[in-house]
């Protein structure tokens, strides 16, 4: 009987359906097996249910495009009838299933466990929980639903004992057999003489203990202050809360990093290239030992088949040639190479790269399901290395040749030349890359420490980008180097024997014979076009193909759906600050000689002022505004208009003002949030619906020098926005905020549409990482370039006492 015939009407339980292989499997079942149903174990997201995730992450994937067009209007009905998402998690005991979930599991004929953390640099404990314990958990859950004693649900409609046990197909990896020279057969690991029989339970205990241990070590005071310092380096004076959050994140990352390193170290010590095959191997052992039929005399024996694919890559034919999901192992390497970033990659030219198209793995799984379990746990390899080897040297030639003819393009629209690899040893490449990353690390530290903003800061961000890329390249070499040097050959005799049992029609419809792959065709016409398409890289020349992202972001920002736009003032709309506005006002009515001493005083005070500003903006404003003590209110508010027209306007960013006005034209509310004084920003009021600024106390027509209102700074700005939005029934998700410095991070994070304007280097780096829109606004060419912010020499008021500056340099009080 045909595969589809045998499986018709069967019910499949699938874990890992949101992954690459799982998605392809679900699609193939729905499309090719009549009336078969799938129960999908899906972990609910923080704000999404299992059903929502299924729709969003499985059914909406372009994998289903073919089925969708075949079914047309019937797609939703058909899928609704045949797909049953259940909430659960292979990382939890009993899979975290509720009663419904258990009932559905009990009703299944085939269970395909495809969930895994495939990342080769997963933290050890996570890999252990999912890869090692996952298969056993699935088996335990199946066993529990068929154990009359364990049934929690007296109202169960089925008789657990009466239903036959489902066939558990556990997806593993060919690399569980290690990468040693020699042949690996399709046999349980016990029979493989190269694998060490590690005690899986001890490894589990150790991994869990290690996390505890690292958590404790990460909280050591010295380490905590290291994290705090790193956070401050990154964010500057963004506010205590944000700094705390960042340093906590750094702590988490540190723990994770340590766990990753521990995983690779442990894996290597036992002869596996990294934590993935290591944990998968122990997972197989745990499964077979605990539930294998005929291996242990247990009540929980299950029919088990293990399917071990090699490196799964894009589909050869089903659902369409080149279909791929996610950016997987080989893709980032290929793209880095095509972008000219990987000058060398280690590997043995005659070594075999064992790649298998995803649709072949799916077909093999379905053939195994149709074939049914054997009396004892059995193993199938789905790999190409023995039957139809792809040599590493050949692959590199094919890739180089393809990118020679289809180059990627750099930012300037110039084609990128791909380097010719010379297949050096892994050690040399690693050392080269390590040197490069160390050098870039130094450059990056130096550049981000510079007080630059705008385009120069972008440059710093670019340096950082390069650094990240180099670090990543090093990571690829360290992680994947072993796979390009693999000398193990994974035999596929059982797989081919299975293929032989198929009817000719099935052999075409469910093709998993690696011999049918034409590698030249696969690499050139199937895989690389798909990789390039997914990588979002420039594939056409010329400057005309500009990055459309800023344009799109700008459109989103200026959409009528937005309703609130918040602006910072200094260096966001005007290249000025509280010190130079003060200097201008204070020198407005000074004689030439007193100007000189005034300037000298201010210059002398400057370093102290800057340091205070950097330490605490609030303290700085409070102390600096003391200089206005005794200044006459009338004169200052008069002078402030002159200050605006003669000093601030020439230093303004016309694009910024144009943007404020555009928001107003669109009917958005506009808010100015600044530490500047009310009389200084008075001329700007027509641009804003609401102005939040500092205000000085007044006594007898003169300023007291004490702040009546200290404007919100740092995180307080986010709170203020939240309050304003609440009071006016607006949603911050639809708000836009413009600021130039990391100290405004809280405000930028609070809104749905943050915009970094001429960002200083820290914010530039943050904006780049988070994909925030960046605007480069500059003074009008022809605007003021004077270095000293001094008022014009007052010809008219000789004899009139200077209202602000005192004779003492820098001082104000009289």
């Amino acid at each position: 009987m045909s595969i589809a015939g045998t499986l018709t009407g069967k019910r499949f339980f699938v874990t890992g359906s949101t992954g690459f292989l799982g998605t392809a499997l679900v699609e193939r079942i729905l499309r090719t097996v009549p009336e078969a149903e799938v129960v999908l174990l899906v972990r609910p997201g923080r704000r999404t249910t299992a059903a929502q995730r299924t729709t969003r992450e499985v059914l909406k994937n372009d994998c289903f495009d073919r089925l969708r067009s075949e079914l047309g209007d019937r797609f939703d009905d058909e899928v609704g009838r045949r797909v049953h998402p259940v909430a659960g998690d292979v990382g939890l005991d009993a899979l975290g299933l509720d009663d419904d979930g258990r009932r559905l599991l009990a009703s299944c004929d085939v269970v395909v466990h495809a969930a895994a953390t495939v990342s080769f640099d997963a933290p050890l404990d996570q890999a252990v929980e999912i890869n090692l314990l996952g298969p056993s958990r699935v088996a335990a859950a199946i066993a529990a639903t068929h154990d009359p004693a364990a049934t929690h649900d007296p109202a169960a409609t089925h008789d657990p004992a009466a239903t036959p046990l489902p066939h558990l197909i556990a997806v593993s990896t060919a690399y569980v057999a290690g990468t040693h020279q020699g042949e690996a057969g399709e046999e349980l690991l016990d029979a493989n003489r190269f694998t060490i029989d590690a005690d899986w339970q001890a490894e589990v205990d150790h991994a869990r203990g290690l996390r505890q241990d690292l958590q404790a070590r990460s909280r050591h005071p010295e380490r905590l202050s290291e994290f705090a310092r790193a956070a401050r380096r990154e964010l500057g004076g963004a506010g205590d809360h944000l700094l705390a959050a960042r340093s906590e994140k750094l702590r988490d990352e540190w723990v994770r990093r340590q766990l990753v390193d521990a995983g690779s170290a442990r894996a290597r010590s036992l002869g596996w290239p990294d934590a993935y095959p290591f944990t998968k191997a122990l997972g197989e052992r745990a499964l077979v030992a605990g539930y294998g039929m005929g291996t242990t005399p247990s009540d929980h024996q299950l029919p088990i088949t293990i399917v071990r694919p090699s490196i799964i890559e894009s589909a050869l034919a089903e659902p369409r040639p080149g279909w791929i999901r996610g950016f997987r192992m080989a893709e980032p390497i290929i793209v880095s190479y095509a972008r000219g970033l990987l000058r060398e990659f280690p590997g043995v030219p005659e070594g075999i790269i064992d790649v298998i198209p995803v649709d072949m793995v799916v077909a093999a799984i379905l053939a195994v399901a149709a074939h049914g379990p054997e009396t004892e746990p059995s193993v199938y390899h789905v790999a190409s290395g023995v039957r139809n080897p792809l040599r590493y040297g050949r692959l590199v030639d094919l890739v180089q040749d393809w990118f020679g003819r289809n180059p990627l393009y750099d930012d300037r629209g110039q084609p990128i030349n791909v380097p010719a690899w010379s297949f050096p040893g892994r050690g040399r490449v690693q050392r080269q890359l390590q040197r490069a990353t160390r050098a870039m690390d130094l450059v990056e530290k130096a550049v981000t420490a510079l007080p630059v903003r705008g385009r120069q800061a972008e440059l710093a961000a670019k340096v950082e980008d390069r650094h990240t890329l180099a670090t990543r390249a090093l990571g690829y070499v360290e992680l994947y180097g072993a796979y390009t040097e693999t000398e193990a050959r994974y035999r596929v005799d059982r797989l081919l024997a299975l293929a032989d049992t198929l009817a000719p029609d099935d052999r075409a419809a469910f093709n998993f014979d690696p011999a049918t792959i034409d590698w030249d065709h696969y690499v050139h016409d199937v895989h690389l076009p798909s990789v390039v398409e997914h990588a979002r890289v420039r594939t056409s020349p010329g400057r005309s193909v500009v990055d459309k992202r800023p344009e799109r972001a700008r459109r989103a920002i200026l959409s009528p759906d937005r309703h609130l736009a918040v602006f910072d003032l200094e260096h966001t709309l005007v290249a000025s600050n509280v010190v130079d506005t003060y200097a201008w006002l204070a020198s407005r009515h000074l004689s030439a000689t007193r100007r000189a001493s005034f300037v000298a005083g201010l210059v002398k005070d400057a370093p102290g002022l800057l340091a205070l500003d950097r330490r605490d903006r609030g303290d700085f404003l409070r102390s600096f505004y003391r200089r206005y003590e005794d200044a006459p209110v009338d004169l200052l508010s008069e002078d402030a208009w002159e200050l605006f027209h003669r000093h601030l306007l020439p230093r303004s960013f016309p694009d910024g003002f144009a943007r404020v006005r555009e928001h107003r034209r669109l009917g958005h509310r506009t808010i100015l949030v600044t530490g500047a004084l009310d009389f200084v920003v008075a001329p700007l009021r027509p641009l804003f619906d609401h102005v939040v600024c500092a205000r000085l106390g007044v006594r007898d027509g003169r300023y007291t020098g004490r702040l009546d209102v200290l404007p919100p700074i740092g995180e307080a700005r986010a709170l203020l926005l939240a309050e304003y939005a609440e009071a006016h029934d607006l949603s911050l998700d639809e708000a836009v905020a413009y600021a130039d410095s990391a100290s405004d991070l809280a405000m930028l994070e609070a809104v749905g549409f943050p915009v970094a304007v001429n960002p200083e280097s820290r914010l530039a780096a943050i904006a780049r990482r988070r994909g925030w829109h960046v605007e480069h606004w500059s003074k009008a060419a022809g605007g003021s370039h004077s270095t000293l912010p001094l008022g014009p020499i007052d010809t008219s008021m000789s004899g009139r006492r200077n209202p602000v500056a005192s004779p003492a340099p820098g001082g104000v009080r009289r």
Partner: protein, 529 residues
Amino acid sequence: MSPRPGFVLEVDGSTPPTLFWNGERFCQEKLPEGSRVVYAPEPLEPLVDPVAAVRHALTHPLGDSAPLPALLHAGMRLTVCFDDVSLPLPPMQAPDVRQLVIEQVLDMAAEAGVDDVVLVAALALHRRMTEAELRHALGDRIYEAFAPHGLLTQHDAEDPENLIHLGTTEMGEDVELNKRAATGDLLVYVNINLVAMDGGHKSVATGLASYRSLRHHHNPSTMRHSRSFMDAPSAELHSSNWRMGRLIAENGVKVFQIETTLNGDTFPAQFGFLQKREWEWSLRDRATYAATSTALDRTPSRVARQIFHSIRSPHAMTSVQAGEVEAVHAVTTSKVWEQQGVEVQGQTDIVTMGLPYICPYNVNSIMNPVLVACLGLGYFFNLYRGRPVVREGGVLILRHPTPWEFHPGHHPSYIDFFEQVLSQTTDPEVMSKVYEEPFATDPWYIHLYRTGHAYHGVHPFYMWYWCAHALEHLGKVVVVGGDPRAVRRMGFAPASTLNDALEIASDVVGRSPSLTHLHTPPLLMADVR
């Protein structure tokens, strides 16, 4: 010896290179043989005693007007309006003509016991003058007497409280004016008539009007039908202002017009070579030219700009007349013509001009690209009577660095105009239909115009409309030495040398075109026969 009239030189092998203005610099160009160079007449003899001349004019008015003293009486409301910073160019050495005239007007008012006097700077939509500029135009004495009491005002075309709508002309043109000026007992308007278009009914109907009123003649259609706008009988701009002026008179607004003309003595002695014909340069002229242009070439343009804007012109008064608007203006126009008119025989394929650092709208400011276009295609192109010097479909070659620079305080709407409007269209018609209104009514521009020193939001459009006649007439405009991006943005062709420009022009006018160079400033007006 009386001053020599204007002159048209034919370039031959022995002609020395011709001086071209080039923004804040100069250069000399060897023009092709057979080219013509048009020189302005030499400066007319100034009035010997300008103070006496003013007094005589005020007491001996022209047309249907009583002498000024007879119009003044105790208890009346007198408004003295005067031209703003856009006149004269460059700003003149103190005392300014406005000061000379207004001092006497005020003396007469004081003698008559008039105590309600308000001074109004007739800005139209120009930027407000700074204190220093007002002091320069009026002198410290007048400034101190009026400014502290709020009696020295600047016309605010966006202050609904201080505007009055007088009605519409037979052509449907709104006349909306400064309320104080229009409702007082007497409006005295003090003009400096630098070019032929200044003065007449335009003084009040334009200088004291609002956007609602100005838009009727400051538009592409009017400008295209003003050929040229410097030649009153042929200018629709002039006709529209005259209709408005008569409506103003019909509404009982009593205007006592004072117009003054200046001679062509434009630059101080150290720049004497600018006003001389090259082959007559003395050794000293040659030396100062060489020294000045070498020094300027090494000076950053920002500094050079400061140096040039500090130039005060030795302009001297050649005539003053007062009384009824039209009678006064007729005399003035002939006097301007006497100083600037040059007879030119026939048109040529190409006209070249070197544009200086200043135009009416960038005194103490930056000559941005829009103003470069306006000075070349608006002002200088229109300095003709009869026919333009360049033939229809011919080529205009300008020399100016045309930097992509704007004064953010003075020209904020220009920045947006250049970015948002000129990037979309250079057609004045499209501009006026699609883009003008939002700029003219933008509250931010209005705010900056009213509280700061910004030109009105609509002003850059007017500058472009000023070019409308030239844009329609010319086959091509080439700018030599300009910022190529800025030049292209305006739809002109950039060239790095005059020879390149002639090469570019050959597409339109062929390989052996005729060429005329306008050697200005000093200003001249071509009478093309």
